[in-house]
Structures are given as structure tokens and as C-alpha cells.
Amino acid sequence: MTQPSTAALPLPAEWRDFFALTKPRVMSLVIFTGLCGMLAAPEQIHPVLAFTAILCIALGAGGAAALNQWWEADLDAGMRRTKNRPLPAGRMDKTSARDFGVGLSAASVLVMGLAIGWLAAVILAVSIVYYAVVYTIWLKPRTPQNIVIGGGAGAFPPLIGWVAATGHITLMPVLLFAIIFMWTPPHFWALALFVQSDYAKVGIPMMPVVAGEASTRKQILVYAVLLLPLTLVPWWIGGTGRVYGISAAVLSTVFLALSARVALRRRTGEDDAMKPEKQLFAWSVIYLFALFAALVADRWTVMQG
């Protein structure tokens, strides 16, 4: 039997491409909010188990991201922002990406269940299915509300972190879930406003493409208005102290002001630099980091005071 020559075989994907498949930059926010949910919980967890839980959250997010890129490889090839990802660039075959995603996801849930607890593992599994199936396969290509409902996927990490530490669900982690859920639409729509030509090109019904810019800008403001009181609820119900309450009020007010600026303006022309939209997007990232950092700082202040 003759063997195929080595030169005829395709070059296998590098380990860097598998790493890129996990969307490391998105994962950093997932790890951070998961860690904050864990640190803000009223019960302490052994550092080794805490590390394991965060690792599982990260692996689960990475697995879901790999499955997302496996499913959207053809769409990614048509967008400037994503055309250099491993699959559309041809550096990896689709089967490898799918198997990698399924393997990471299954391993993360299994380790979470065995080492931490099965409630946290079940929520992690739900979050992976929510992102890879409900958002990526079902909602994203079908409805401009994809971001609103799909935002739930990104809202799970603090809930999982909290449950990993305490073993049960209370109102506080549900509020943390709701805050990220409400933050997601203005965050993504701000991005969609200045990359909308790419989404339109591949037929993804993002809000600016389907409902128009004016409607999107209005809806960004609606979510920012709802977000402000929502971020204060943990303080009002006594779940957090003043450090968090004042931080949330200041951060959310700035978020609302930037959203209002985006809502009240119109694109000046094709050469519009979209600076307010880019500033809102940048602030939305800083905002979430700062809000959850304040939550942890508040917890430590309460513990020491």
C-alpha cells in the first residue's frame, strides 16, 4: 500500500490557533466577572477549588467560543474584523474546531461537577448551550433582538462564581446576572453602529441593519436608563455597602450620559468617525470591570469593618 507524501498532507493547525479559537480577550471579561461573583459571595471557598472553578468557567467560555466560530466560519470569512480567525483564514479545518469546542465544553462541565458541585456545573452547561446553540445557531441569524436575549450567555459567569462559592442561588447573584444582561445591548449595539457595514454584508440582522440607526440609538438609551437603577438594587436591598452603591451610581450615570450623547446624535455622513459610539463602547468595557471591582472592594470593606 502506498503512503501519501508528506507534502500532499495539509499543514495541521498550530496550538496558537486553538488558543485563538477560545476568544481570549472575551474570556478575560468572563474570568473577571466570574471571579468577582465568587469573591463577592458571603461564603469563602478554598483557593484551589476557587482556581478550579474559574478555570472551568474559562474553559467553558472557550469551548462555547470555539463552537461559535465553527458554526460561523463562513460568516466570519465575509467580515473584515473576523476574516483572519483560524477557520476563515484556512489555518484549521472545521472538524478540529468542532471537536475542540465539544471537548473543552464537556471537560469544563465534568470537572466543575466533580470538583466544585453539580449546581454550578449545570449552570455552566446551560450557559454553554445558551451561547453555542440558543444565541449562535438560533437567534443571531434570525432576529435583531439576538443581542438582547443572547446577552444572557455572557451574564452567567458571576452567577456560576457565586454558586461555586456558596452552593446555592440567592437574589444577589441573580441581580448580577440581570446587570450584565441589561448592559449587553448598549455595549454590542454601540459596536454594531460603527461596524454595521460588515454585519450587513453577511446578512446578520443586527439592530442597526434591520431597525435603522435612529431606533438603535433610542434603544441604547432605554437600556442605559434601566441599567442605572438596576445597578443600585444590590445596595437598596442591603446586599452591598456604600462603596459599591456610590461607585455604581457614578459609573452608571457616566454610562447613561455617554448613551444619551449617542442617542441624541445622527451620523454626519459616510466619513463620520463615530467617536461618541466608540467612546461608549470603550466605556462600557471599563464600566463592567469597574462595577464588579467595586462589588469586590465593597465586600472586603464589609468583612474588615
Partner: protein, 48 residues
Amino acid sequence: MTETDKPVTTDPRAQRDKVIRQRNVALALVLGFFVVLFFAITIVKMKM
């Protein structure tokens, strides 16, 4: 043969071997890390 006759960086077999070796090293490191992690988890669970 002169030096210019050996296109080392574009040799498909050499490139393929390099990628596979790097993947194997990465996989070995990941597996080693998980061995240590599972050992640590076991010790922590036994003490709880």
C-alpha cells in the same frame, strides 16, 4: 549543494513536523498541569 539550494523554512515536511512537535509539547504541558491540579483537588477534598 549551496546554502541557497536548501529552502529550510518552506520545506513542507519540516514545517509539518515543527507544528506537530509544538502541539505535542503544548498538549503534554496541559496534561501535566491537569495531573497536578487533580492531585491538589484530591488533597483539598480529603481534608474537608
